[in-house]
Amino acid sequence: MAALLSDETLIQQALTGRQTAYAMLVKRYEQYVFTLAFRLVKSREDAHEVAQDSFMRAFRYLPEFRGEAKFTTWLYKIVRSTALNFLRKQNPDIRSLDDEARPVQLPDLGTPDAAHDLERRDRNLTIQKAIALLSPDDANIITLFYLYEHTLEEICQMTDLTMTNAKTRLCRARQRLKGIMEKNMTLEF
């Protein structure tokens, strides 16, 4: 029954002080928020902290949610901003999550163990691993478009990018992802 309730209904109920509505929103979006947080901060432990902080901030600002955009669009902005604040606390030099500021760091996968480990993993895990090696912004645009199936228009709303820039970034992220996967595949042999 709870699953049938729309986001708008849950938000209205939450705003009247109903705690179960808040809990349902968390349950519904915990994977969404956690995955995005993980893509941004690259650590499961830190992602838990960022995800929790994101929900807290979302609840605090819930009365300001006007419903002009999708709830996930609004939520993404909060996760991104929370992650950026988190990373800035750890490293004050970080000004953006763009790849120029945080270049892709490829770990050494040339050891036999690492190659063997990759060999044993299934295709999904290979992709997940490759996504984890992308810059936060590249990883996010791949996640938003291909995993969450947000439209390019929604991604533009979330990231404040123009349509052309979003498309270019998606294309670039995909090429990098493919490059990382090809490199990993090469290292397997």
Binding site: T20, I127, Y146, E149
Partner: protein, 176 residues
């Protein structure tokens, strides 16, 4: 190629992602029919795209929702609890309100008992002050009965608000 669209892998991705206009889409369809090798490349793109779609999402640890709700409840309780530094405001307002009520009672009692029994020592001109009209109003029996009732209703209202607020805080603490 008998069209203007230059086919490359990015165009195939745009085709798969639905970014092409209907006209461009038709051009690619025509091209693919004529070039089976590109059709195979499109199938590779589609397969990779399907794998991306099928990639499982990251899952937080079990009990994540409970932890968020507990943190939210704690924050709510802290937000609703009157801070120690704000207590003096509440007490001041309550004291002022109490003094106002008490002052009203004293004024009524004085006007009812003292004024009428005071022997007049001097012949003073009789001036009709508005206060005497107020005294007449305050002597009205209906008003005298209504006043405690209004006070009682007001007190019950405040008590009800307090109990509701307390129950809300308890619910929050219990995570309901």
């Amino acid at each position: 190629m008998d069209n203007n669209l230059i086919i490359n892998e990015e165009v195939l991705w745009d085709y798969a992602d639905g970014f092409l206009t209907p006209e461009e889409h038709r051009e690619v369809d025509t091209y693919l029919q004529l070039h089976p090798d590109w059709q195979i490349r499109l199938e590779e793109v589609m397969a990779f795209r399907a794998q991306l779609h099928a990639t499982p999402l990251e899952k937080p640890r079990s009990g994540f929702t409970d932890r968020v709700m507990a943190a939210w409840a704690t924050e709510q309780v802290q937000a609703y609890q009157p801070g120690k530094n704000k207590d003096w405001i509440v007490f001041s307002v309550a004291a002022a309100f109490g003094l106002f009520i008490l002052g009203g009672f004293v004024a009524v009692l004085v006007s009812l008992s003292g004024m009428s029994n005071t022997p007049s020592q001097m012949e003073l001109p009789q001036v009709q002050l508005p206060m005497s009209q107020l005294g007449a109003i305050l002597q009205n029996q209906t008003l005298q009965m209504a006043f405690p009732i209004v006070l009682a209703v007001l007190s019950l209202f405040v008590l009800d608000k307090y109990l509701r607020h307390r129950r809300f805080l308890q619910n929050l603490a219990n995570g309901q």
